[in-house]
């Protein structure tokens, strides 16, 4: 790369997005338990949540479960004979037990292991043992409770609001449209990590959205791939804000020489690693991926509001999902989607990709917990953000706005009802 080539086209992101301001931002939304409760009502109970991919239930009779740690329960996604995918709360309508204990499988229906009530793949109640002992039992009213379900690019989303304020398509918006066509279905070699981190769910999202910390916090690992002599402070190529969503295009050091094992892993992998700076020319990048078509590009981090992130390169991608348990506790899930190995040696490259990814995220976590303690104890009450931390500023504004708008609407509705 020409050392004089500019890292990013924007003079400042602040000038591009003046509505976000440049002043300090309060920490209250990261540590106030009351605000957390408002977020649950205004955001988590009424936005679309990703629960899996269509490949997890390709045939009629296939199902999978997804636990929603924020709410403590899990949903079942099942494909019925009519080929339709449906989502149900995993709750028997007799007494509330789980009707399915397996995480995934194939079946003709669900049988509650408590008293043996059976449900079809379409959720209808089909069997009640010793039914004559019940009084006025109306089976048609006792089907599994269904949730709204829709699919974007093969990702299955649910919404626990019975009448969602937006369709999934509306919710994914311009950001969603701009990623259509990426070969998401090619990532069939899958792994998933889960951890409970003592920090606010938004802080964990923030940690994937700025690369200002890369040369310092990740000095042992990805410092020389996502930063380098031409970009010593890990500045972003671009930050694009589309409604409540945001995307960071991350710079890659094309002059980087991999470490010995890492180099062998990159040579023996089914697709380029996200940190390799190698772009697979066979993959047609959708408009919204490396949108500025920078040459020194490694990966994009796209946050779909509120809690779902896709990190994409040309040869692999992975997702992060945040499930808050409290203002200062979150369940984080990272699911990797690698291309399948075309020979046995590529299993080595896959393993190394997984391990390096995990190690890099591990480096973030002590910092997140220390920040949380400082915020909880009031030792920091405002944060001053660098221009390249604009995504953090954006999340703060979006979350606050979303909560306030929801509460205003609720008040209006309340008045209207009186």
């Amino acid at each position: 790369m020409n050392a004089k080539e500019k890292i990013s086209a924007a003079s400042t992101f602040a000038a591009q997005y003046p509505e976000l301001g440049t002043g300090p931002v309060g920490t209250d939304v990261y540590c106030d338990p009351a605000f957390y409760e408002r977020e649950l009502a205004a955001i988590f109970r009424r936005t679309w949540m990703c629960v899996g991919r269509v490949e997890q239930a390709p045939k009629p009779g296939d199902f999978f479960q997804k636990a929603l740690p924020t709410f403590g329960y899990s949903v079942i996604v099942a494909r019925a004979k009519d080929q339709k995918l449906r989502a149900f709360y995993n709750v028997c309508q007799h007494r509330g037990n789980h009707v399915e204990l397996r995480q995934r499988g194939h079946c003709v229906g669900f049988t509650c292991p408590f008293h043996g009530w059976t449900y079809g793949l379409d959720g209808k109640l089909v069997g009640v043992p010793d039914a004559s002992g019940f009084f006025d039992l109306d089976k048609s009213k006792l089907g599994l409770r269904q949730l709204a379900l829709d699919v974007w690019e093969g990702f299955v989303f649910i919404n626990m609001d019975p009448s969602p304020s937006q369709t999934l398509e509306e919710a994914m918006g311009e950001q969603g449209r701009d990623l259509v066509g990426y070969p998401f279905d090619s990532g069939t070699a899958v792994f998933e990590y889960e951890g409970t981190i003592n920090c606010n769910w938004k802080s964990m999202i923030d940690s994937f959205c700025e690369t200002y910390h890369v040369p310092v916090l990740h000095r042992h690992s990805v410092k020389d791939t996502l930063a380098g002599p031409d970009n010593p402070y890990g500045r972003l190529i671009d930050c694009r804000i589309k409604g409540p969503h945001r995307t960071q295009s991350v710079w890659g050091n094309m002059a980087y020489t991999p470490n010995p094992v890492q180099g062998l892993a990159w040579q023996n992998a089914p697709g380029p690693a996200v940190t390799s700076g190698v772009v697979d020319a066979a993959v047609k990048l959708p408009k919204g991926l490396n949108e500025t078509r920078a040459k020194h590009w490694s990966l994009d981090v796209t946050v779909f509001f509120p809690n779902w992130i896709i990190v994409m390169g040309s040869g692999m991608y992975f997702t992060h999902q945040m499930w808050p348990l409290a203002a200062n506790k979150v369940v984080w899930q990272m699911r990797g989607f690698l291309r399948p190995a075309t020979n046995a040696a590529q299993r080595f490259g896959q393993e190394n990709s997984m391990v390096e990814l995990r190690d890099a995220v591990l480096e973030d976590c002590n910092t997140l917990e220390r920040i949380q303690t400082a915020q909880d104890e009031g030792l920091i009450t405002e944060m001053v953000y660098h221009d390249h931390e604009i995504a953090l500023r954006h999340q703060y504004h979006v979350v606050k706005q979303w909560v306030e708008d929801f509460e205003k609407n609720q008040k209006k509705k309340g008045k209207g009802a009186r």
């Binding site: 291309r339 040696a345 080595f348 190690d359 976590c365 910092t367």
Partner: protein, 126 residues
């Protein structure tokens, strides 16, 4: 020499006999076991494994590049598993110089809730 003369099948494919002393300690059941091995092995031992493996890794990878997951015999699967241990130990040596994380966050707090099987056919790319 035919196998039957010695009475035991070779531990590793032909040409990789020098790696046989590593098999007992470094052929591990899965990704979870490999992380645990990394976290409980002294840095000098990890380094010795890394050095011994790195020398032969290009040859081993060329050998496995001619073969398919799910179709490996036991000796070939052991060779793959030695390489997978190298994939886990790589960053321990190349990034940290130690199996544990320098800043101390407990790697066991990340649960690998779904892992890629070591040796199973992964299907064609759609």
């Amino acid at each position: 020499m035919p196998k039957s003369v010695r009475g035991t099948a070779p531990l590793l494919p032909k040409g990789f006999k020098m790696l046989e002393p590593l098999v007992a300690d470094w052929v591990l059941p899965d990704s979870r076991a490999r992380l645990e091995k990394r976290l409980t092995t002294p840095p000098a031992t990890i380094r010795a494994f890394y050095d011994a493996m790195l020398d032969k890794a290009p040859k081993a990878l060329s050998y496995l590049a001619e073969r398919q997951l799910g179709e490996l015999n036991e000796a070939e699967e052991r060779l793959l598993k030695l390489l997978l241990s190298l994939a886990e130990m790589g960053p321990a040596v190349e990034w940290y110089g130690t199996g544990e994380y320098p800043d101390g966050f407990d790697a066991r707090r990340f649960k690998l809730i779904e892992q890629m099987p070591d040796n199973a056919a992964q299907g064609a790319r759609p």
